[in-house]
Amino acid sequence: MNDVLFTVLDNALLARDVYRLRLQGDTGAIARPGQFVNLKVEGCFLRRPISVCDLEEDVLTLIYKVVGKGTATLSRLVKGETIRALTGLGNGYDCAPAGERPLLVGGGVGVPPLFLLAKELRAADKAVCVCLGFGAKEDAFYLREFRELGCEVRLATLDGSLGHKGFVTEILPERYDHFFACGPEPMLQAVCAVTRTSGQLSFEARMGCGFGACMGCSCQTLTGSKRICREGPVLRKEELLWTR
């Protein structure tokens, strides 16, 4: 965990209401894909948690959707401005159980953390299948980027404007060794229901602090109470109450 002052490199519209923000600064505390940073946004009292999407030396990439006041303010950041963030928060995904054919399942702005994960899995030469779900074609992003990593990319949109028409859970491959998922809770629940392997799922919660101090983000699991910001945001499928 670190308190870092970042400088904006760029901040560009990527898809409908979705922006990519690239920040320069000390990324040393970020250890794993699936971790997040907590941004101090001007005019907002609480910080805003955003997943690490990509990391290259001292450049941190975040992808966020404008859904309210804080993300709207973020979208107005321009090159050269600075923003403070607590970095290296959360447990992140554990690549060890990935197996040879890991499956990545992402929905909407749950997709970003899967990118750094895919990158690491590809670096370890895994056969990565990425299944992405979006509302419509206009919402989709990073397809090319995943393909360029050498992943198999499958797509579903709710309105059928790109790829399969329907839910992302309808396009999962037959065979995979372990899955990694991030997306809205109904999607995560569906993923849990249709997958047969072990897996890891990343959750969201309204956060007070983002680093384990307030107990605001607690979540009950079969292995006890977990703080989404600390013992999460990634939980193992096996510990979820849903699987009971």
């Binding site: 907002c44 009292f45 609480l46 919660a205 607690s218 109470s225």
Partner: protein
């Protein structure tokens, strides 16, 4: 740094800055951010006799000048705290700590306090008779002088350690409650706990919090907190620990001028994890600016 020293119920503090209960865990979370030995002390997470899972989530809602929480006193229970948390704490904090205790019956308060008071590192007991989040919980004790006195008298019997009673601001008149605590044997009063508040999500058209209402804290409550500290400090003869929205050295000084002997910082820790250290480092500069040579001199100075 004698200029910052104060004494709280007979125990000297290097400075009056104390992270508030529920916003600082059991300390070690913050030891990752800075050496927490710079603190006056800190008040640990509200602890109950039995473990508690707390309320359903969402437990947090943002406000324009603060936040709501409905954590619901999630804690591992006093036995686990003594077994697991206090040993961990000892390794990163070498000063007396303030043990914050909640309960749902007088007996629970008494038993939890008795156990914690026996721990050498516990310097003060801070009994929270004010948590607004729990049905049938602290609320009833803290809104009525007689019930408040009941708890204090009972706890008083099981410990000689300084007993600080933490009051709720959700009352029409705070003075009789503070006086009842003093008369019942309290060594200090701390206030304020959170104000009951609410937010509704325009998108879902539902309360943001699963429990609908929650405790409002942060800068937005500072004027109310300051007023109550002023009122209570003027009404009792025991020290007052002031809190509510404090987030700068200036705020600390304002609370002390109102009558606080020490000042707790809560919500600000959640947004700026190093805020207490930063305030302590900033205090000498701000004191100089306002011609203050010693903090202990200004306690109640606005009266």
């Amino acid at each position: 740094m004698d200029a910052l020293k104060v004494s709280l119920c007979g125990i000297p503090l290097d400075n009056p800055v104390i992270p508030a209960s529920g916003t600082f865990g059991y300390g070690h979370e913050f030891a990752q951010w800075y050496d927490i030995n710079c603190l006056g002390t800190f008040s640990f997470k509200g602890t109950t006799l039995s473990p508690r899972l707390g309320n359903p989530t969402p437990r947090i809602a943002e406000c324009s000048a603060g936040m709501l929480n409905a954590v619901g006193l999630q804690n591992p229970g006093v036995h686990e705290v003594i077994r697991e948390e206090l040993p961990k704490l000892r390794s990163c904090f070498h000063k007396p700590v303030m043990a914050n205790v909640s309960g749902f019956s007088v007996d629970e308060y008494v038993e939890a306090c008795r156990l914690l008071a026996a721990e050498p590192q516990v310097g003060w007991l801070e009994i929270n008779i004010s948590c607004p989040n729990v049905h049938g919980g602290g609320m009833s004790f803290g809104t009525d002088p007689a019930s408040a006195a009941l708890v204090v008298e009972a706890v008083r019997k099981v410990t000689d350690k300084p007993l600080i009673v933490k009051l709720t601001p959700n009352v029409a008149d705070i003075i009789p409650i503070a006086r009842a605590c003093e008369d019942a044997g309290a060594d200090g009063i701390s206030l304020i706990n959170t104000l009951v508040g609410m937010r509704i999500d325009l998108k879902t058209r539902r309360p943001v919090l699963a429990r609908q209402t929650g405790g409002y804290s942060g800068p937005g409550i500072f004027p109310v907190a300051l007023r109550m500290v002023w009122q209570v400090a003027g009404a009792v003869h025991i020290p007052v620990v002031g809190m509510g929205g404090v987030s700068s050295a200036q705020d600390v000084i304002e609370m002390m001028l109102a009558g606080a002997t020490a000042v707790q910082v809560g919500t600000a820790n959640l947004v700026e994890p190093t805020i207490c250290r930063d305030i302590i480092m900033d205090l000498p500069r701000v004191m100089e600016r306002y011609g203050i040579t010693s903090l202990s001199d200004i306690i109640g100075g606005a009266r």
